[in-house]
Symmetry: C2
Subunit: 142 residues, 2 copies
DNA sequence: CCTATTTCAGTGTTACTGAGATCG
DNA sequence: CCGATCTCAGTATCACTGAAATAG
């Protein structure tokens, strides 16, 4: 094999597996008329109403991208922004009823992609992989 | 936990772990004055002289990005392109001596990043992870 | 004074698409 | 005519930076 320097590298294996997963995910979300940031942000709002900064921290979306994504989601009637009376720097972001419906719709899409991504692995290997990946990703303080 | 819909998703765990790995990798390559595509393409040329199309296939870089990357590498004197006499559609791409030196230099950078990425795991878990990721990434025909 | 939040504008890498010209 | 290669130009998502305005 000519490119052994690369093919055994953990960062390579990780990026290949992730590329395949993200292709499937983005393809499915695009077919549903949505995108990754939209799903992430709607999902973060499922239980709580949050400020934009807190929202971005929870789903690891940059403050700047939160603004742009919320502008789209709000103009589509999926979320609602209102000034926080307790701290007037903040916006309180909530899911609208239409937003909750959209979240459920996208969630079905996302769940079905998980099975497709994990198709090569049995149940036990799926659990092992999840556990190993979680340990790698936990050190994400930056 | 408020965003359980996301935090247990394999595609989420994969993207988080990969983001951390790529941040470390790109940071280290940038500090060394290089980038991911440059390393990948130099590494692919280690043993063989290849056409651009074959090169792109081996390290999964799009034909279009191969052109742009080779233009930079060639102007830096790291690779050499010449028309293939046997098939005049093709360019034969070879590493120059300076290119081989650069590959060795970048290789040291990349290797040290692997240890940093895998720091949370012991030797046995590292092998398991590599094996599981390889099985996920193998289905990359598209 | 310093920090946090929201917003805007812009950058960067990776990944990808479409089309033209050349050649087998 | 079809298919492969190289090139150019442009797009998309995600990730990120710097700075201004506002408020605690």
């Amino acid at each position: 094999m000519p490119h052994d320097r690369i093919s055994a590298l953990p960062t390579w294996l990780l990026s290949r597996a992730n590329l395949r997963a993200q292709r499937l995910l983005h393809g499915a979300l695009a077919a549903a008329g949505s995108r990754g940031y939209h799903y992430r942000i709607l999902a973060a709002l499922e239980h709580d109403h949050l400020s934009q900064a807190e929202l971005g921290r929870r789903v690891a979306v940059d403050r700047s991208d939160v603004v742009a994504t919320l502008a789209t989601l709000e103009s589509d009637g999926l979320v609602h922004r209102s000034p926080d009376p307790a701290d007037r720097r903040r916006n309180v972001v909530r899911l609208t009823p239409a937003g909750r419906t959209e979240l459920d719709r996208l969630d079905a899409v996302v769940r079905s992609v998980q099975d497709e991504v994990l198709a090569p692995l049995g149940p036990e290997d799926r659990r092992r992989l999840a556990s190993l990946l979680a340990r790698l990703g936990d050190r994400m303080d930056r």
